[in-house]
């Protein structure tokens, strides 16, 4: 099936479950990578992706191509699901601090760990913007919709995050691209 995401979603809204499976195969990996780069937690990432697709099924008629792309809609669901789970986990952690442990880096190369460390040094808000912009090729307008923040805030966070990373990595500013 080489249909667009929106066409597949339309078929799913009309009852075609194969279309949903196709959408899952297309977006399982990108959504997992997005959540993982934000949280570094395998289990949480899988959980969020599964919950996102469950919500997509429950609210399938809420989506309309006039409102935007399906990719944006899916990332929006995943992001808000992630935030809910993180907030819930933080509440339990305050009451029972021994419950959760910080994710541990397992057998990554030095370069990967360096980049991972760099991303973790950003604020949660900056990290989300960087991951969506650099890894998922989303426009700033789409990012604003996903994160439910103004476009100006997206630009500002991107700029601040890039400046911070350039400084940490010792990259001289040449005024290009940011």
């Amino acid at each position: 099936m080489n249909l667009t995401d929106e066409k597949l979603m339309e078929k799913f809204q009309n009852g075609d479950t194969e279309a949903l499976n196709e959408l899952y195969e297309r977006y399982r990996a990108p959504l997992f990578r997005f959540i993982y780069r934000c949280t570094r937690d395998d289990q949480l990432s899988m959980d969020v992706v599964q919950d996102a697709f469950l919500k997509l099924q429950q609210k399938k008629h809420y989506f309309s191509p006039e409102k935007g792309r399906l990719k944006t809609y899916l990332f929006q669901i995943a992001y808000h699901t992630m935030i809910s789970k993180i907030n819930m986990r933080a509440r339990w952690h305050r009451l029972l601090p021994f419950l959760y442990k910080e994710p541990v880096n397992i057998s990554r190369s030095d370069e990967k760990m360096e980049v991972e460390r760099m991303l973790q040094s950003l604020s949660n808000e900056q990290r989300a913007v960087i991951v969506l912009f650099y890894y998922h090729d989303l426009s700033q307008k789409d990012i604003a919709r996903i994160l439910n923040i103004p476009l100006g805030t997206v630009k500002s966070r991107l700029h601040q995050a890039v400046q911070k990373m350039r400084k940490e990595w010792g990259i001289e500013s040449d005024g290009k691209g940011s």
């Binding site: 990996a29 780069r37 650099y134 630009k155």
Partner: protein
């Protein structure tokens, strides 16, 4: 706004392997999620301190022990 080329090049080194997992959760996973879901609680969360939580859990144990000791004596 264009991507910063140098930052883009560095960030691309951080690849993530995606495990194989199904779209639907197993019944056990659903049960675990339901158990961990936040339930409505009569006392506002802001009022519960760590000490308060410990007291709620420990006091019944202490009372049970005290009653047991009293009954033995």
């Amino acid at each position: 706004m264009e991507k910063d080329r140098e930052i883009d090049k560095l960030l691309k080194k951080y690849t993530v392997e995606v495990p194989d997992f199904p779209m639907k959760k197993s019944k056990m996973e659903k049960l675990a999620n339901w158990l961990c879901e936040k339930a409505s609680f009569p006392i506002p969360e802001e009022r519960i301190t760590f000490k308060g939580m410990v007291c709620i859990q420990v006091i019944p144990i202490v009372v049970s022990l005290a009653v047991s000791v009293w009954m033995i004596l």
